[in-house]
């Protein structure tokens, strides 16, 4: 199971996810990213500081959410990925598609 918390801030919606993102749990990540976009909150910050394991199932949800949010002129920005998660992001070129920040505050204030 993933722990997901969502906070509506002035400029952005902050989604904090903790746990292991794999084939079992990736759909939870997908829903957490998709729901705010469906509700019209299209400036998203995904805080991944609590995730130290992400398989390709997680990459798939992030790419799908990015496609979705870009279609409505929003953005998905990522804060504090662990080194293991960052390694997978770099392999898949996620870092060329998404702005990645070292802190949550920086990510939120970037909007």
């Amino acid at each position: 199971m993933l722990e997901v918390s969502v906070a509506g801030l002035e400029n952005a919606t902050l989604i904090e996810v903790s746990g292991r993102v794999d084939s079992m749990t990736a759909n939870q990540l997908g829903e957490a990213l998709s729901n705010p976009i469906d509700d019209g909150h299209v400036n998203i910050v995904l805080d991944l500081s609590g995730v130290d394991y992400m398989s390709s199932a997680g990459l798939r949800e992030i790419i799908a959410a990015l496609k979705k949010v870009k279609r409505v002129a929003g953005d998905l920005r990522i804060a504090q990925p662990s080194s293991r998660v960052m390694e997978v992001f770099e392999m898949a070129g996620i870092d060329t598609l998404v702005r990645i920040f070292a802190s949550r505050v920086e990510a939120v204030e970037s909007y």
Binding site: D22, M24, S56, R60, M91, T96
Partner: protein, 139 residues
């Protein structure tokens, strides 16, 4: 020293973590680093996910996946075996990490993670079973 161990799981997504943990513990017990154990275990996660989703088409309640591990001080070999239709996942070309968002499919990274994290990956179809062999050498 030579080490070996094997695990059989029912081919459902709930069991992938068992295969992951089994491989992680095996690699650590053989004296390899956490990083190598992580890379081997994530690769096994990806292969099992692929078998369950594509090979058994998410209908593997009565099917199994065998994970066989062997190692000595310098070399780990993990063989993942399934009974789905013959399919070599290595036939798929590597996805492009520099593709634009518009041009890229959402998926396709699982086997690429395996290719990148392991030193050698090979496929054979033997005894009516798919066998994907992952190898990692001590750096």
């Amino acid at each position: 020293m030579f080490y070996q161990n094997s695990l059989q799981i029912r081919a459902i997504v709930e069991n992938i973590e068992k295969a992951h943990d089994f491989v992680y513990e095996f690699v650590r017990e053989c004296g390899f680093s956490e990083n190598i154990a992580h890379r081997c275990a994530l690769s096994v996660d990806e292969v099992c996910s692929n078998v369950i989703e594509h090979g058994y088409q998410k209908n593997g309640h009565d099917k199994v996946i065998d994970v066989m591990c062997a190692a000595d001080e310098t070399h780990i070999m993990i063989t993942i075996i399934d009974d789905a239709h013959p399919f070599n996942p290595l036939d798929n070309p590597s996805p492009d990490p520099l593709a634009s968002l518009e041009d890229r499919p959402v998926g396709g990274w699982g086997i690429e993670i395996v290719r990148q994290y392991m030193d050698k990956v090979s496929y054979r179809y033997s005894n009516n079973r798919n066998q994907l062999i992952l190898e990692k050498y001590h750096p």
